[in-house]
Structures are given as C-alpha cells and as structure tokens.
Symmetry: C2
Subunit: 255 residues, 2 copies
C-alpha cells in the first residue's frame, strides 16, 4: 500500500552526469549512498537518471526532475576540464548567467596557494549559476553548488559523501522509511499470495521480494518498509507467522 | 566533438525498475553489462533511469524513453510476486491487454514439472503485452519479453546477462565505439587546455578526464573514444605527445 493519507512525503531525484557510467567503464557508487543519506533526512529517492556529458541532455533532465521533486541532486561534471559542463548546462536550462562566485574563488585561491596557484582552468570550478550558494567540500577545495532546489555535487564518491555530510540536517523532510527483512528458504512463487495479502493488510507498508539461489537451494528475502515502527513490527510478525503456518520457517533479519 | 556527419548513431535507454535500488539496499549491476553489450552491437547506451515499482512511474518512463531511442531495455519486476508489475505497466502505457503467451506457458510448465508444478503465481511469468515475442532465458525458465522496441528483462544480473546473450547479433546497430586510455601523473587542471584542443582537433572524438589521488600523488586517466581506429590511434598519439611536450610523461593504457 502507499503512504498513509496524512503523511507528507518528501521526494528527491538524483541525476548522474557522466559518459563513464553510460559506457560501462565506471560502476556507479553514488546511488546507494545518496539514497541512504536521503532516507535519514526523511526524504525518499524516487528517481535516478544517468545522462551523458551533453548540454541538452543535462538541461532537459534538470528541468524535468527539478520540477517533479522537492529536491534534485546531481553528481559529476564539476571539475576543471572541457567535459565538465554541469554548471553551464543548469544555468542555460534556467536562463541565468554563469558567474564566478567570490567565496568559491577565495576557497580555490587558498587551496591552490601551495599547489601551483589558481589557473584559468582551476577557476572554472568557482563558476556557478547566478543566485547559487556553495556546498562545503572539505576534501579537495572546489565546492558544491546549491541553485534553488538543485544540489550540484562532485562525481567522485568520497567527495560527494563529504558534500552530503555538510548538508546533513539542513533539508526539510518527513518521516524516514524504516525497514526490516524476513528471510525464508522458499521459492517466492510458493508464497506470492501471502506476500500480497500481508502488504494489503498494513496501511503504508511495502513488501519487496528478493529471491536468490544459493548452495543449490532456493530462498528469498522479504523487505518490509513503513514509516511507523509499530506497523513495521506488526507486519513482520504477521508475515513470519504466515510463513510458519505455510510450513516455511522465517529467518529474522534475513538470510 | 560529436559523431561524424555521415554516421547513423543507434541509441538505447535502460530503465531499471526496483525499489531495492532506490532504497540503497541493492547496488545495481546491470548498467555496466548492458552498456558494454550494447556497444558490441553498435548501439550506444544514452540514458539510464531508475524508477520505483509503480505503474505510473514505469508507464511514463517507457513511453518517454521508448519514443526517444531506437531501443529500450528494462530490468526488474518480471517475477511471480505482487511487486512484479513491469508487464502490466508497459501494457497499460501502450493501451494493449495483457495475455498469457502460449509458448511462455509451455516453457514454464516444462520448467516446473519437477519443481512443484505451475501454480497461478508462477503463471504470472507467462503474461505479456499482446503482440509481444519472447526472449529466451536458459537459466530459470521464465522468459524475457520483446514488445516493439522494448526488451523486458529480469533484474537478477546473471539472468539479464543470459537474455542479452540470446539477443546477441539480432539487433541492428552502427559502428561500435572504440576507446583507449592514456594515463598521466598530472593534475587534470594543469593540462585542461591540451585536452580541449586535442578533442576539437579530431572529428568524432570525445576525451573524458578521470582524475584520482593515489599514494599521495595526483593523476588522471584520459579516455579517448571514437568509432574509427585510425582517428583513435592518431588522437592517442597527439595527446601523448602533447603531455610529453608539457613535461608530463604519458602512460599507455592508463594508470
């Protein structure tokens, strides 16, 4: 079932900008960490898109996703080279000029003081859409950028993590989604009706079924999600009891 | 630069359907394998979306992506449980009924002959949008589904891989993208102009810059992509020579 009637659900989208993901060269590491961090803030990651380093593709995606969700996070394309066009694409998509942010320039001047100086290429990393504010980056100088409800972050996972960390507690959200896992050595198709009826019986609960085949045996983990600890606990008990009644012992916390 | 003027570029999108990716519970493993397989077929993965197990979200995405690209691949949501709604969502999005495909039913009857029989839940996996054809699944019985230019595959990576394998050589494509990597112990910002001018000088070439920081040293890998081996080789040589001229030895095949 969907969320309870009185519950305001805050949603976010993540836009991953990078040919290296679409070519299969690089395995994305940002979806999971952004998803988990967002949930702690009470915000649900509702959609992810990956687009290439292309002005139009980025522009279309940010206009669409920024309008559909409370928050939009982007990763990638904010470095000093020719393929780093995220800021330009977002500014163009919203019809605002790109300016050099004075505070970002000062951060970079300081950072590169002992690293060869602030060149023209490095100064690219101080460019923001007009009206933006900065997101602190304690690792590598170049800051992230907040423009309206869009949070522009680095693609390198540990730098993205630091930018998320500096945003912790600053975004309005709702109730985090709580989850619990019940494992069972059963083919999910054997207890499909039980899963569906249990989900229907608990308002605001979703049950996901994740089958596996290990050491010659078929099993599945059932992930129950709710914003209410009481409802979650009740649903876990009901599902576990139902599995036992069907002759399949439930394994608490999953297999 | 973009592709050569006379080159027809075939593109595909990948739609990943699954709350488990959006919650951060499961790390996606399909983007990279689909991207690499597509490139061998001469098709470029141009966009990826991840949406939740929701009829409207899936429907909106398949209509949008299926119309924008030559091919659309989906992963996830084709099992026997209540959260497996991909076929229903795609059929609804295109206004066609869902039918039980006779050949899929026969495949499942055979597969479950020694596995407890074909129950109603298992028969869900024979359901397809009317007009669809099957994609062979040599691992676990339940087939994939081709509906127009949409290829509906399992989310489990090794089953998705088997479905891709059964499609190998059957899709029309263009020239595969060839790539080569040049590594260098340099801060990418030091040679940003060289990267941009080298990319501009070779038609149809893209150069991606992927910096790293290892063992206290700053470096980067530059990935050069082209559909022409000659152009690729020439560009690799030009970039390597340019790096050497700037005092930074190039490392063939990357660091």
């Amino acid at each position: 079932m969907t969320a309870g009637a009185n519950e305001r659900v805050w949603t976010a989208a993540l836009l991953i900008i990078g040919d290296e993901i679409l070519s299969g060269r690089t395995q994305d590491k940002n979806v999971a960490q952004v998803a988990i961090w967002l949930n702690i803030q009470g915000i649900r990651l509702s959609e992810v898109r990956v687009v290439s380093d292309n002005m139009d593709a980025i522009g279309d995606a940010v206009r669409s996703l920024g309008g559909q969700h409370d928050y939009l996070f982007t990763t990638g394309g904010i470095g000093p080279t020719h393929d780093d066009i995220t800021v330009d694409a977002i500014a163009a998509a919203f019809g605002v000029p790109v300016i050099v942010h004075p505070e970002a320039r000062a951060v970079l001047e300081d950072y590169y003081l002992t690293r060869g100086g602030l060149t023209e290429a490095r100064l690219r990393m101080a460019r923001v859409p007009e009206g933006a504010v900065l997101i602190e980056n304690r690792y590598s100088g170049a800051p992230g950028v907040q423009f309206g409800n869009i949070f522009i972050m680095a693609g390198v996972p540990h730098i993205a993590a630091a930018m998320l960390d500096s945003l912790t507690g600053t975004l309005e959200g709702g109730l985090p989604v709580l989850s619990a896992t019940v494992g069972c050595w059963v083919a999910e198709s054997e207890i499909a009706d039980l899963l569906a009826s249990t989900e229907r019986a608990y308002e605001g609960v979703q049950i996901g079924s994740y089958p596996f085949f290990r050491e010659g045996k078929t099993g599945a983990n059932f992930v129950i999600r709710s914003t209410s600890q009481t409802v979650l606990d009740d649903c876990v008990k009901a599902l576990s009891d139902g599995l036992e009644a069907d002759g399949f012992p439930a394994v608490a916390d999953g297999i």
